[in-house]
């Protein structure tokens, strides 16, 4: 019996069209737009001005607090302007526009692809380098990694979990990275273990990626303390709390952080970024992005410089299909539809999904027939039908009592609803309002 989490979950069609496609390097675009807020926390402060010449890997925006991080230029060239432009949220955000000239990297970056296994830094030094390199959670949540590595007072980390689940349909960037950079991910895992001062790490991978499980299991034998845990395919297993439950059997208490049960979760992409930052001196300025969709000519995995416009990625897979209805940043379950092809790839962009009109259209929704499927698939044990009504009717105190804040916004409820009700939309609305109420109460 494969391990998995216990409550709820769904199994949408996997549609991993780009599985097994080698990671190709996307040509550097002519200009990039690098937002200064690519992570959860306070936006970074730009430290370059219009007209400045920057190199690839140079810091262009500095961390503005503990829960914040540095941002590096992904290209070399001249700063064109610092201005507002929409990011994947659809709202205009401040960012740095750079006109590309050549590709001149900072001297200290080691550009060879040789594997470097040995390291002699101690924990705090590793944490500091991770912070300097601007590494954030690359599964999509973009929480600054260095913050997770330093547990709050009175708590101790016991196990590091590396998230190679990739439970979202369509996406294959993590899968491909595991196949091509297995050793690097394992070294990155060891670096993270050292930083957290733990002896044990487990890499969770869903059983639809047997080649990655096989490869990493073999390679992990030569790395002390790292094991690979195959998991039953079930969405949303890549959710932090679901992964911890699946691998360790521990349940993060309602409202608590993973560290409350001694666990820290990092994505495989993050582990790879940590490897590059420490062993190669390379800050985070590029990432693997899956570009896919049923009508797309050539679904692919690309290594993309941060700040590249979505339109460049779409060109690279053969252009936008005619019947396109929506372009989604991320996977079909949790991703967001983007409003313009100019929106840039950021540190949290795991994929670009191009959906045909027929699938992108929302179906008309009908009355709730109280079939309770949403209740049975909710991985957090909530009652989505009730939370939706409470959101609609704006009864926020009851929504709070019914644990609306525990919702991880996985969308299993909306996915499974036979009446096509927009459950998650109203729950998100309620969650945002309840969150604001809780914050004002604390003040």
């Amino acid at each position: 019996m494969l391990k998995t989490f216990k409550i709820g979950g769904v199994h949408p069609p996997e549609n991993k069209l780009s599985a097994g496609k080698k990671i190709e390097i996307l040509p550097i675009p002519k200009t990039v737009f690098i937002p200064v807020a690519q992570h959860i926390g306070s936006p970074s402060t730009a430290v370059v001005n219009k007209g400045d010449v920057v190199k690839t890997g140079q810091i262009i925006a500095k961390s503005s607090g503990f829960v914040s991080t540095n941002i590096h230029s992904s290209v070399s060239g001249k700063v064109k302007k610092i201005d507002l432009s929409p990011d994947s949220s659809g709202y205009p955000k401040q960012g740095i526009f750079i006109d590309v000239e050549g590709d001149e990297w900072m001297e200290e970056i080691n550009r060879s692809s040789d594997l470097v296994k040995e390291f002699n830094l101690d924990g705090p030094q590793i944490v500091q380098k991770i912070q300097e390199a601007g590494i954030v959670g690359m599964g999509g949540a973009t929480f600054p990694t260095h913050v997770k590595l330093v547990p709050p007072k009175g708590m101790k980390a016991e196990i590091l979990l590396i998230n190679g689940v990739e439970c979202e349909p369509y996406l294959t960037s993590d899968h491909q990275l595991m196949l091509e950079k297995a050793d690097e991910i394992l070294v990155g895992t060891q670096l993270l273990m050292k930083a957290m001062n733990v002896e044990k790490a487990a890499i969770g991978i869903e059983n639809n990626k047997t080649n990655a499980i096989q490869l990493l299991t073999d390679k992990a034998k030569s790395y002390k303390g790292i094991s690979v845990v195959p998991l039953k395919v079930k969405y949303p297993q890549g959710g932090e709390k679901q992964l911890i439950k699946a691998v360790t059997g521990r349940e993060v208490p309602s409202g608590g952080l993973p560290i409350a049960v001694g666990a820290v979760v990092d994505n495989v992409g993050t582990a790879f970024a940590v490897y590059e930052a420490i062993q190669k001196n390379k800050p985070l300025f590029e990432r693997v992005v899956t570009v896919t969709g049923k009508e797309v000519k050539k679904p692919s995995n690309f290594k993309v410089r941060i700040g590249t416009a979505t339109s460049e990625l779409i060109e690279a897979v053969g252009g936008l299909p005619e019947n396109t209805g929506k372009i989604i940043s991320g996977g079909p379950m949790m991703g967001r539809a983007i409003t313009s092809p100019d929106i840039p790839v950021t540190k949290g962009t795991s994929g670009i999904l191009i959906m045909p009109e027929t699938e992108a259209k929302r179906k008309t929704y009908m009355e709730c027939i109280r079939c309770s499927r949403c209740v049975s698939v909710c991985p957090m044990g909530l009652e989505p039908f009730l939370l939706m009504t409470l959101g609609q009717k704006q009864i926020f105190d009851r929504a709070e009592n019914e644990k609306v804040m525990d919702c991880i916004e996985c969308g299993s409820c909306s996915y499974t609803c036979p009446s096509n009700r927009p459950l998650l939309d109203y729950i998100r609305f309620g969650k945002a309002k309840v969150g604001a109420i809780i914050r004002t109460r604390k003040k």
């Binding site: 409550i7 709390k241 439950k245 349940e251 993060v252 208490p253 309602s254 409202g255 608590g256 009908m366 009355e367 709730c368 027939i369 109280r370 079939c371 309770s372 209740v375 049975s376 909710c378 991985p379 957090m380 044990g381 909530l382 009652e383 039908f385 644990k403 525990d406």
Partner: protein, 297 residues
């Protein structure tokens, strides 16, 4: 439900089909007319819910019932049971059962004269249901061992060679239909199993204490529409609780009320009343019985 319906047509002849068709057509028509002209909303008859109500209503009446009684039942089901609460999703009670109980109280004679096996070619003979026979026997002071002689065998009950409403007679086909719905995830096991187990346990306990007054629990399980109620009626999504724990409380409640009515009440069969009573508790159960929260105590 299709296997049980086909068997019924086989046993009761085309009468069963006639009743079912009348019920379905009447339910669809009432739904359409009321939604369009009284509620002035877009009729939703294509959602299939009125169709199901019609079939379930037909399953709950004898095959020889006059057509106008079914039409009244359909009006009670759709008009009172469903649309007066706001339509699909908002009804507190199972519409088909509202219709059935309405008819049972209004037309007790027509609702309880059951035709039996019609395959021999002679005119339908009416007879009481097994539970009706037992009830009458006990109230006359006849010991069970005497009554048993006039009862059908277990095999006859399983296959439905007994008197009863259209859809209730063949336990085995109802169970097959239930397994199909379980397999296709239309229902979960919680409600049917908790009803069947609780009825079986209580009936079994009484039987063990005094087999001369209380009948073997097998009779309770395979007759009196218990399977129909447990599998097809109590599991109605709209009027049953929304999480497994609540569903089991609801199921046990139905089981206990059913057996209480059968053993101590005036009616020989009791599951329709039991389901309606527990339907009324559903909102309460939903409010107080919560699913197990992730990370909760």
């Amino acid at each position: 439900m299709i296997p049980a319906l086909l068997w019924s047509v086989f046993v009761f002849g085309l009468d069963a089909l006639r009743v079912t068709l009348i019920a379905v057509v009447a339910c669809l028509a009432f739904e359409f007319v009321i939604q369009k002209y009284l509620m002035k909303i877009k009729p939703m008859i294509t959602d299939g819910s009125a169709l199901v109500t019609g079939i379930l209503l037909a399953f709950n009446v004898p095959a020889n019932i006059p057509w106008w009684i079914i039409v009244i039942g359909a009006l009670a089901s759709i008009g009172i049971g469903k649309l007066s609460f706001g339509g699909l999703g908002s009804n507190i009670f199972n519409p088909a059962l509202v219709g059935r109980v309405f008819l049972l109280i209004s037309f007790p004679v027509q609702m309880t004269s059951w035709p039996v096996n019609n395959r021999s070619g002679i005119d339908a003979v009416t007879s009481a249901t097994p539970l009706g026979i037992i009830k009458e026997g006990i109230s006359n002071g006849t010991p069970i061992s005497e009554i048993s002689k006039s009862l059908p065998s277990t095999v006859e009950m399983l296959f439905g060679e007994i008197g009863g409403s259209i859809g209730e007679i063949s336990a085995i086909l109802l169970i097959l239909g239930g397994l199909y719905m379980l397999f296709t995830k239309v229902i979960t096991w919680h409600i049917p199993v908790s009803i069947i187990v609780s009825v079986g346990l209580v009936a079994g306990a009484f039987w063990l204490v005094n087999p001369e007054v209380y009948i073997n629990p097998v009779y309770h399980l395979f007759t009196g529409g218990l399977m129909l109620g447990a599998i097809f009626m109590a599991t109605d999504m709209v009027s049953s609780p929304m999480n497994p724990k609540g569903q089991m409380i609801y199921g046990v409640g139905i089981g206990l009320i059913t057996i209480s009515i059968r053993l101590f009440g005036a009616y020989p069969e009791g599951i329709s009343f039991a389901i309606l009573i527990m339907n009324a508790f559903t909102p309460l159960i939903n409010t107080y019985i919560k699913p197990k929260r992730f990370g909760g105590k």
